[in-house]
Amino acid sequence: MSSTTEILEQDGVSLKARLAKATAVQKKRALLLTMPLVIFLIVSFVMPIGQMLWRSVNNPTVSNVVPNFAIAIQQWDGKDLPPESVFKIFVEDLVIAKKNREIGKTVGNLATRINYDIPGSRSLFTSTARKAKKLKAPFKKSLIKVNKKWKNPALWLSLKRNAKDITPAFYLAAMDLKYNEKGDIVKADKLYQIYLSNFIKTINLSAIITAICIVLAYPVAYVLSILPLRQSNLLMIFVLLPFWTSLLVRTTAWIAILQTEGVINDILVFLGFLSDDGRVQMIYNQTGTIVAMVHILLPFMVLPLYSVMKTISPTYMKAALSMGAKKSYALRKVYLPLTLPGLGAGTLLVFILAIGYYITPALVGGEDGLLISNLIAYHIQKSLNWSLGAALGTILLVTVLILYWLYNKIIGIDNLKFG
């Protein structure tokens, strides 16, 4: 016993400390080698995502454009209209804001922001701002004189809500909810309820695509794993061929095949299965999205399955047969469980890729086959409501993380095998 402690403690320095000292240089060098990647990840991954998360809750417009008013309006209890003092500060701030040309601090920005909440109020702000300089006390009266929409308490409530820097409003919008005129959270109008149903559709389509991929990839991977090397290499090239072709080329090829005047319809009409005016619509809808995405994502299912199946010794099946199991029973009870790590990895990979896929649904999805990523792209590129886009993106990210967590709970991430 005492000799062991002696070895552990030498000159009062513990073994752990000595070990750490001996390996310190190696550890530092290893850390240094990873630095380029770490920096790259921080710049290209962590920072943009952090910025997206921040933008999805950040709401600086009101406090930027009319800063004094943003503070003053918080005194108002929300009943009727704000007091005259608040109106006075609002007009003063508006006069200052009119001169401001800095991006994000113009009256136009303010108008756009309130317009999200109360449609049709954009011109109200811009036109009033032009006249603000000439307005005289009492400001409440003179403002209403310029435009009687200023009498609407909902407008002031909206201004009060948006005067805070952090808002859940974009998340509410992303989940088909909104503030009503009294400031309660209610369902959005029927016409604007598009996000939740799209999320559900995206998850459904991704699940269908994943399921089709499993059904198609499993036998292929099995054959690949048992064939002699020469043949399996040749087959593997066919599996990988989609990887070496541009995504755009592959997707447009599907347009040529599936469109109403396309190859499949032509053949069916030629063979007399369809009449010339009864051609089937197979693209610019969900069918098109599913077909093209299964084609693109199939290798991501085949490869992990193949890599796992390759390691399964054929003696397991032989052993099961020798013990009296039929081939189907042995496949189900012995082979399938052994392939679970690859199946899990492929499923996770394909599903997560499908749920965030953009180009293919945009090209062949039509109206019906659009996924949530296409809506996010719309808000980033067209409507320029980046905050709403960021909120939608964050929800998508959280959904994927939850799935990942569930997967880890059920199958265990250690069992994943990507190849």
Binding site: T315, A319, S322, M323, G324, A325, K333, L338
Partner: protein, 362 residues
């Protein structure tokens, strides 16, 4: 079950994988009930192929295989009811030991209570009573091996095939497992067909050994017969250690053959498979059947030999002589007080009996 029929019969069985080379050329073998038959041979000699044909994993290219008198060429493997132990155990890694053992019983729709009872009995049989809930990966190689054996026996097959089951174990464990398998064979009255390339293993365990080479059975006999009276030079070489002297037959005299070795010495040997004068022959001599400084007239063959090397082996001293033109003539000299006279570089007389010297094919 008719007891007159052999349990297993191979009849003119041939096997080719590519249609060009016969891996098994003409295999004939009967295995009686309760026998322990080992197929021994260098790798690539076709022994595992024969086992796989019997188990049903490889179809025979030609010939018939009978089990209990019935041809089984067209019976799928799961209907043959043959137990099998594989080289790397093939224990299902996703099941516990108990689940592995229960697998053949589940397949046979045996009820849960009986299943559990038989699993427990099997675990006790291989002395792994407390290991039922472990996974195969948590067991040592020897324990995995015992589970694999128990699994192949749990559904009471008449016949168990073992394909180099001890190949992955270290030497001590291998020897211990050899005895365990031998005892199971005896106590359960099993019929075992065993494949190995390890001749010691084959000699220890088997009732009969079929020595394979180049797709042909060279000899199938009991271990002692194989060792004492090999049919040809390949068997003599493959089983045990063996000194070889090349020569030509000078005269044949009943059971004996007089051979003139290439060095010009005359040796009287037992005739095995030489038939005519002038034939080339290999004389086979076991290293433990050589006498050092034999008394006069005790051995018909006595020669002067030069001691080339002494290698200490504890219980015996391996001595390399140069005799009758062979520089690598090995003699195992017991480590006793009488044999201290051997000194490297000195000449000494050595001799052997004619019945210990076999004249085999050249």
């Amino acid at each position: 079950m008719s007891t007159n029929e052999p349990l297993v019969r191979f009849e003119n069985v041939q096997k080719s994988y590519d249609g060009e080379i016969l891996v098994v050329k003409d295999f004939n073998l009967d295995v009686e009930h309760g026998e322990f038959v080992t197929m021994l041979g260098p790798s690539g000699s076709g022994k595992t192929t024969c086992l796989m044909m019997l188990a049903g994993f490889e179809p025979a290219t030609n010939g018939n295989i009978y089990l209990n008198g019935k041809p089984i060429n067209n019976v799928p493997p799961h209907k043959r009811g043959i137990g099998m132990v594989f080289q790397n155990y093939a224990l299902f890694p996703h099941m516990t030991v108990a689940e592995n053992l229960a697998f053949p019983l589940e397949v046979r729709n045996i009820g849960k209570a009986e299943r559990e009872e038989r699993v427990n009995r099997a675990l006790d049989m291989v002395r792994l009573g407390d290991f039922g809930n472990r996974r195969p990966a948590q067991l040592s190689g020897g324990q995995q091996q015992r589970v694999a054996v128990a699994r192949s026996l749990i559904f009471d097959p008449e016949l168990v095939l073992m394909d180099e089951p001890l190949g992955a174990l270290d030497k001590n464990l291998r020897e211990q497992m050899q005895y365990e398998i031998k005892h199971l064979h005896e106590s359960l009255g099993l019929t075992v067909m065993y494949v190995t390339h390890d001749q010691t293993e084959a000699l220890t365990m088997s009732n009969r050994i079929a020595v394979f080479d180049d797709g042909v059975v060279q000899q199938c006999a009991s271990p002692s017969k194989l060792y004492e009276r090999p049919d040809n030079a390949f068997v003599a070489n493959f089983i045990g250690e063996n000194n070889r002297l090349m020569g030509t037959v000078e005269a044949i005299n009943g059971e004996n053959a007089t051979v003139k070795t290439d060095s010009g010495d005359i040796v009287v040997a037992t005739k095995i498979n030489v038939s005519s004068v002038g034939e080339r022959t290999t004389l086979s001599l076991r290293p433990e059947r050589i006498f050092i400084s034999p008394e006069d007239n005790k051995t018909p063959n006595t020669y002067s030999a030069m001691v080339k090397e002494l290698i200490y082996h504890g219980d015996h001293i391996r001595t390399r002589f140069s005799v009758c033109g062979d520089d690598d003539f090995i003699v195992k000299v017991p480590n006793s007080a009488d044999n201290t006279s051997l000194i490297e570089g000195k000449e000494v007389n050595i001799g052997w009996m004619s019945e210990d010297c076999l004249a085999l094919d050249g």
